[in-house]
Amino acid sequence: MMQAMLRAAFPPALPPGRARPFPFPWRDRAGRFSWLKAATFALLLAPGAWVAWLAAADGLGPEPWKDGLREIGLWAIRLLLLTLAVTPFARLLAWPRLATLRRMIGLGALGYALLHLAMYAANENFRLLHIAGEIALRFYLTIGFVALLAMAALGWTSTDGWVRALGRRWKRLHLLIWPIAALGVFHFFLQSPKSGLWEAVLAAGLLLWLAFWRLLPAGWRANPLALLALAPAAALGAALVEYAWYALGTNLPAAMILAANLDVGFELRPAVWAGLVALAVPAVACLRKIMD
């Protein structure tokens, strides 16, 4: 077992002459420089660089570790959602090369999630016993940690070698991304100190949209009407998640919060935003069709 794992992770060198160039993230599969991949790689590093710059410039406030680790965790969730969005966008934009970016974005999400854990440990002064205790005791940490472990397993098995070695089981294994994303968003909900769930609700709405799209029969996935119908479904789903959260976890009048989704005069609630983002999808898909 161990040998198989190692063989898959570190495939034997090819005979000389056919040597494969090192798979730097800016190279395509043939080993050529790819602007698309290079740009994606740079964009993936940008949020981390931004947070590092803020930290260096004393811009993270008086609790730099806590604020920094939140920001990095936020990017882990965002990139995880983006990973899941690659397939629908490659399909709807009729741009199959997009799909070649999925692994890199997914590994980016894993990188930010690992950094998030490392920064949590730093914020707890690397008291490892205490940290292990907290992860075991606090439910939101437990589920975050479980999600991270599963994500690391997916990252480990993301190499070509593992794809070959696992064959059809690879796809089944990597369906774990869905429960991981759900746990990640749940963790996002639970960690907010007192309230302020704005982006967590938005993330729930977007994740629901991504899941709904995959539940569509294959023939409908590019159908503008079906895509149009997904927007209110995602918005309603996010609103219901938010309602359930407040109704079960707090004494706040959850019905009022649900109703506030309809009052767009003051602010657009996150569920409404999820719906608007989802509405952009059929618009973009239509535009793409017109361009052809």
Binding site: P193, T250, L252, P253
Partner: protein, 313 residues
């Protein structure tokens, strides 16, 4: 055996500040001359000059460095102005004058104070307190203000009064957070009359030798440093003595996480995180949290016989 426990204000002679530092006459005069010249060049607003921060009360020693003013004034929870910590700019819109504070309920002499009359009537002093937030961060601030006891004495609590209720301003025009209508505005906090009469209970009107800023709860807030920070209601407009225990803002929202007493105890975790230690703002340090935030010698006897109450959250 004779065991002598030192009270908080009893400090060894060796820690007394040398006289030349206290009465640094030449340096002070030099500073005065410089300050005077600067004042001529750039006259400060009259309100700045009028504020009297009071003499520092040396009974309560923080045992830590004072938090940088920038941190204490830019990292604030004030949900009326927004749910993140960077509300200080939004809070600038809070109109601080005219401001009246109604003191009513079960008192002999209910009264509506104009804030400046209240400042005139009360004995202003400075106290350096530790503030421990329920979110496991803390700061040390030199507050100016007066003991809540002085205000209670002025209005005369009646025998039926058991609790004090503090009500924060709810100004729709300037507080965008109130548009989140599902929160139980106004922000209400409370404590028992005994707690309010304890010398540590402080009504804050200034910080860092200046008038209090809106984000810190101007023009008047309560601060009981042995309780989590959310108990320290800001921008008070009404103080009511009642017979019934008031239901506080966070208790109304999430009673399983935030209770009425909310005394600080490192051994009682928040349902979602440990309270055993705290980050001291701006220092990068994490220090162990103390029972009653280290003020046990002044307040622990308030809770004798109250063990059946949920004192710690």
């Amino acid at each position: 055996m004779f065991i002598r426990k030192r009270r908080g204000w009893e400090i060894p002679e060796s820690r007394v500040t040398p006289e030349h530092l206290v009465f640094g006459r030449r340096a002070a005069l030099g500073g005065l001359a410089l300050g005077g010249a600067m004042a001529l060049a750039n006259p400060a607003p009259a309100a700045e000059e009028a504020f009297n921060p009071g003499l520092r009360n040396m009974r309560y020693r923080p045992g830590r460095d004072v938090t940088a003013e920038r941190n204490a004034t830019t990292y604030n929870n004030y949900y009326e102005f927004g749910t993140d910590k960077g509300i200080y700019r939004a809070a600038e819109r809070l109109p601080l004058r005219p401001w009246t504070v109604q003191v009513d309920g079960l008192v002999d002499r209910p009264r509506e104070y104009a804030i400046d009359d209240l400042l005139q009537a009360m004995p202003i002093e400075e106290r350096v307190y530790r503030l421990r937030c329920v979110e496991a961060w803390s700061m040390v601030v030199p507050w100016s203000g007066f003991p809540l006891k002085a205000l209670l004495d002025a209005v005369g609590p009646q025998s039926g009064a058991k609790y004090v209720r503090f009500e924060t301003a709810a100004l729709r025009g300037v507080m965008p957070g109130l548009r989140q209508s599902w929160y139980p505005w106004p922000y209400v906090e409370g404590c028992t009359l005994e707690e309010a009469a304890n010398d540590l209970s402080f009504m804050v009107v200034g910080a860092y030798g200046k008038k209090l800023l809106p984000q810190n709860g101007a023009p008047l807030r309560v601060h009981q440093p042995w309780k989590y920070g959310f108990k320290a209601g800001k921008s008070l407009v009404r103080i009511t003595l009642t017979a019934e225990r008031p239901k506080s803002f966070w208790e109304a929202i999430q009673p399983q996480e935030y209770g009425f007493w909310a005394n600080i105890n490192p051994e009682v975790s928040h349902p979602r995180w440990s309270q055993a230690s705290e980050r001291v703002l701006g220092t990068g340090e994490r220090v162990p949290t103390q029972l009653f935030n280290g003020y046990g010698e002044f307040v622990a006897d308030l809770y004798a016989g109250l063990q059946q109450e949920r004192l710690w959250a």
